[in-house]
Symmetry: C2
Subunit: 458 residues, 2 copies
């Protein structure tokens, strides 16, 4: 446990942090690293980190197998993660009961970004990192993505650069530290620890690392599949301006969230992966009988950039390109985003707040309901509003194979009604930033979009 802060001396939040982050956000051309230097470094990483990822039948998995009885897909050591079955019953939406495969990974991982002041401007130490599921190889990643054993265990971060900085951080150097969920449709109660810490000039960038201003990182967000999910969620947890006025007060938003937590019944039971109703296992995949949602696959990975030369592992392959769209509107001059209280089976609680629209058109084609209508209405909203952000991004490439989602932020005009549909609320960016100090209010798709929204308004 790191030493505690100055005992006996009452202390205040750092007042200058907002200004320092704002200055870094405005330094879009870079300070320590010019845009040209960055592009050259990134191209070099792309050339250097070669991953060959080949789909294989399950029988060719090494150290992974289907457990007897349950049929769960597990590692011989019991470590890493497993793919199990989930029986879900909910009290709302077009489908009230289903079974599905889901990833179980109880450990809380660390996603951490190191920040350092260089020439008077805060810089983020970003990593160029390949994951087997990435559709395009290298993506910009947090300084550290570590499993719990990496950052607490006996081996204490051997092989994970910079992880000791997080283990040993002095409390007053912590800028953000909060548990957040991952994809509630694919992960069962998985959380990561999102941390941002400030370090001194003694910390330098290794080969796969680069100092970028917040403005530079925000520009990279606009490039398809450039900034990985782990980096996006950590960025979303950065502190921001104090809570100010909105069409709802903070207390009213909390009341609305609690109401939705208390009203929705989500009953989940972990079951065996074998014989899940609606799912078929072949030599190569476990897929839904209608071809929807996702498949469980196996891949063989040959990498030159890791401590191990190659491995095999299961991955989830989502079908279709997901859509995550946030409607924003200036109401009485103040920017508000329209969030939805959304049920997903993998959340620790019943609901988390999601983007205005979240879904995959193929999965909703046969399902009349709100999300299908929303997805169909997006083109109209895009043409009548102002598209602030539009990029395709991947989800976590360590678990998801070529997952693609189109993230959009659309500013609607005064012709769009202020009135909120049932289960939706307008919240200001400071209010959302206030919620993001605390665990499990916003889901991972909403967090990605908040990181992008700040890139649009900073």
């Amino acid at each position: 446990m790191p030493p505690t802060t100055g005992i006996g001396v009452p202390r205040h939040e750092e007042q200058q942090l907002q200004e320092r982050l704002a200055r870094s956000a405005s330094a879009v051309d870079g300070v320590a690293t010019s845009t040209e230097q960055f592009e050259k470094w990134f191209a070099d990483r792309l050339a250097a980190q070669v991953h060959e990822v080949v789909p294989i039948p399950f029988r060719d998995l090494r150290n992974w197998s289907f457990a007897e009885g349950t049929g769960n897909l597990v590692h011989d050591t019991g470590r890493f993660f497993s793919v199990v079955g989930l029986h879900v019953r909910v009290d709302d939406g077009p489908v009230r009961e289903w079974w599905q495969p889901i990833i179980r990974q109880a450990e809380i991982g660390l996603l951490g970004i190191v920040v350092r002041e260089i020439d008077g401007v805060l810089h983020l130490l970003m990593q160029a990192k390949t994951e087997p599921g990435n559709p395009n190889g290298v993506q910009l990643s947090p300084t550290v993505q570590a499993t719990k054993s990496n950052y607490t265990g006996v081996h204490r971060g051997r092989g994970v650069p910079y992880v000791d900085l997080f283990r040993q951080v002095a409390p007053h150097r912590v800028i953000a530290d909060v548990l957040q969920s991952e994809h509630g449709a694919w992960f069962y109660r998985k959380r990561n620890r999102n941390m941002v810490i400030e370090v001194g000039p003694e910390v330098e960038a290794g080969d796969d690392f680069c100092w970028l201003t917040l403005g530079q990182v925000q520009q990279q967000l606009r490039i398809d599949h450039r900034v990985n999910m782990d980096a996006r969620t950590v960025l979303s947890c950065l502190p921001g301006p104090a809570l100010d006025s909105g069409v709802h007060t903070g207390t009213e938003l909390l009341h609305w969230i609690t109401t939705n937590q208390a009203l929705h019944d989500v009953d989940t039971t972990v079951v065996g992966l074998a014989d899940l109703p609606g799912w078929r296992r072949s030599d190569w995949s476990i897929s839904h009988e209608r071809g929807c949602f996702f498949s469980v696959r196996a891949v063989d990975v040959r990498a030159n950039s890791r401590e191990v030369a190659g491995w095999t592992q299961p991955l989830i392959e989502p079908h279709g390109v997901g859509v995550a769209a946030l409607l924003v509107k200036r109401i009485d001059g103040v920017l508000h985003a329209l969030l939805r209280a959304r049920v997903e089976p993998g959340y620790l609680d019943a609901i988390e707040l999601s983007p205005t629209v979240q879904g995959t058109p193929e999965n909703h084609a046969h399902l009349p309901g709100l999300v299908r209508d929303q997805l169909r209405d997006l083109d109209r909203l895009r043409s009548r509003g102002r598209v602030l952000f539009d990029a395709e991004m991947s989800e976590e490439g360590g678990r998801f194979y070529h997952s693609r989602s189109r993230y959009m932020i659309i500013e609607v005009g005064d012709d769009h009604p202020d009135q909120e549909p049932d289960g939706f609320r307008w919240a200001t960016l400071p209010q959302i930033t206030w919620l993001l100090q605390h665990r499990h209010y916003l889901n991972v798709q909403a967090r990605s979009l908040i990181a992008c929204l700040r890139a649009c308004v900073d």
Copy 2:
């Protein structure tokens, strides 16, 4: 769903609420109800609400039975709650693995207090309510204690006075609304919704209800077994002054909490109640072989104050009188309370913040470790410090039979070290109030003590 708040009009938190609550806290002699009137009303309730509670063997339970196979103690309808087994593995403390009975009750209940301004002073509508497990019959309770089906279901609050006020509340009349945990040693992931709402003069007090100022309720807290657990937890969630300085900043406290959430491994598996290692079932009870902890019992209840004239039910009977003690200290003139990051198996997350000392001496007699040492050290702390609060209180009488805990707040002097033991942190009352806006930071014992601490310093 109630109507949303004023669309299109940015709004601020009510600025006067702090002052209004402070005025109510200072009105210790009452406004609408004098102390004499209150005492007479309470004595009348005590005489009117007669509960005869008789221990019975399990076989005499009506509509409750041990399920085949699991041996779980369940209601025939599957409703209310059940007693199941839990297998627990933790990575810290003197005992790393155990089995125990635990209450499973997935539903989120409502604990709500109605507040109304009378003669310019806020009054709380408190209820005189008997529960079968109360050691002394009637206790002061929230306006509403309702199950989920009471406040959302088909029967919508039939038989539960005032519950519709909470269902239909306008968002701007909500003073607090937050999910909080119950006893993590006895309940598996049970949460309640803690709500405070303001109403208008159209709401009047029924026979079992009384308008009291916050100051009057705080005085009642000092009387043994007078204010029930449900009222204490709701009181703890009242808003307070804005976050100010402390020896740690808010960000530092969140960092410490997240560190403890991430570091502790708590692995719980729900198992059958039959054949739990270390536990013995007789005709009359399920008890631990060493006589420690608690027993599961059955009682027959005959009441004259409920819609049903009588019923039988299981209850948990804790052994020994629990201790929950909070050390507070003025550091540089600012009052701080010493909270502990505590693992309990029934929490939704790994840890919640507990009082400085929490335990039952009998359970720790044979266990060397921190809690035993703390319990032994209490007399020394009491004699050297200033005892601000000391009363015996009950836990939830609908589930616990004659549970008694001694709640203490001890102000230590400058001779007590500022330095925090591992796993403890000093936090100011405004910081704790800030945490209590959000779910699951403080456990139910700590929340009780925070309600009491406000009674000492308001």
